[in-house]
């Protein structure tokens, strides 16, 4: 087991990955997935999020209704999302910004990656059958798989902020600290 101290905290608290190359590899995967989410956040444009022009987030979420992939999700978009579209837009605006930033930094990583899996599923259920834009289906499957790997390896404990935070949470007595230990 590696016992040397990393840049941010100790790897001792991160079982399952041995050797610097493995730990650097999973950290790099986490950062690339984070950059993907942060990059994609940029085109969620308030205050209308494309509802006034039929483009942007409105167009992409509407694909779930026009070209259904998973009928319960299409129903959810048509009857829950679209009537409350501005609220949905702001939720996506903050969610993707936070998911990207937290994955890049390795902060609350396991919880963040779980949310990323659901977000990736929502995107997949929206766009998989749309014929308008040329999309590579496997990109969405890869995104889901990458986030599952991040959850499984607790990737924030390798060159991430979780590595510095976990020893502090372990010393605390509070319920929040115990929850954050599970989230990291």
């Amino acid at each position: 087991m590696a016992t040397s101290s990393s840049l941010l905290g100790s790897p001792v608290d991160a079982p399952g990955l041995e050797g610097r190359v493995s730990r650097l590899g999973i950290a790099l995967l986490r950062i690339v997935v984070g950059v993907t989410f942060l990059h994609e956040a940029a085109w969620k444009r308030p205050p209308e999020f494309g509802r006034d022009t039929g483009r942007g987030l409105w167009e992409w979420s509407n694909f779930a209704v026009e070209y259904p992939v998973f009928l319960p999700y299409s129903w959810f978009v048509e009857y829950i999302v679209q009537p409350n579209f501005i609220l949905f837009g702001w939720t996506v605006f903050f969610l993707e910004a936070a998911l990207g930033a937290f994955l890049i930094l390795g902060l609350f990583t396991r919880l963040t990656a779980v949310v990323c899996v659901f977000q990736s599923l929502a995107i997949t259920f929206s766009v998989l059958n749309q014929p308008v834009y040329s999309e590579w289906d496997y990109a969405y499957y890869l995104l889901i798989g990458a986030n599952l790997a991040i959850i499984g390896t607790a990737a924030g404990r390798h060159y991430g902020l979780d590595a510095a935070l976990r020893p502090l949470w372990q010393r605390s007595n509070g319920r929040l600290a115990r929850l954050l230990l599970r989230a990291s």
């Binding site: 941010l8 990059h39 605006f93 990207g100 502090l168 605390s172 007595n173 600290a177």
Partner: protein, 153 residues
């Protein structure tokens, strides 16, 4: 002295400095990419593939990064909270300005993430450090049942 007498451990100090350096580097990249823009251009320049910043947003990020580095360098939790307030102000400014005519930092949702990440990171580190220090101090205090003075009364 920081609130509650807490200072930063070595790993927290390093993490805060790293967050400051990342913010500083993002601001410097913003200066390079936004060269030629007006100082408060509402549509900031695209900085790499990550975010948008205009020159004002870039200089503000450099200032915040520098402040965060100083907070870590001096192990000051008080300064760390001041930096967190700065990051929060940037998140609010970009959120209110994004895709509008008045967008002082020239940011988008990606820029919100650029300030939100280090802000929440420094906040989590400062709060966790303070809570851990208090828990350690409480463990070191004698319990009332062990205190002979307390037993006599």
């Amino acid at each position: 002295m920081s609130p509650g007498g807490a200072t930063m451990s070595e790993s927290t100090r390093r993490a805060v400095v790293v967050l400051g350096v990342l913010t500083l580097l993002g601001g410097i990249a913003g200066i390079v990419y936004s060269a030629g823009q007006s100082f408060t251009a509402p549509g900031g320049a695209r900085v790499g593939e990550l975010m948008h910043l205009n020159p004002l947003g870039s200089w503000v990020s450099i200032g915040l990064g520098g402040l965060t580095i100083v907070a870590g360098w001096r192990r000051s939790i008080t300064l760390a909270f001041v930096a967190v307030a700065g990051f929060a102000a940037c998140v609010v400014a970009v959120t209110l300005g994004a895709n509008r005519d008045v967008n002082p930092l020239g940011g988008t949702a990606s820029t919100v993430g650029f300030h939100l990440g280090p802000g929440v990171g420094v906040l989590a580190l400062a709060l966790a450090e303070r809570a851990a220090s208090r828990a350690t101090a409480a463990d070191l205090e004698p319990r009332s049942s062990d205190d002979p003075e307390h037993q006599r009364s």
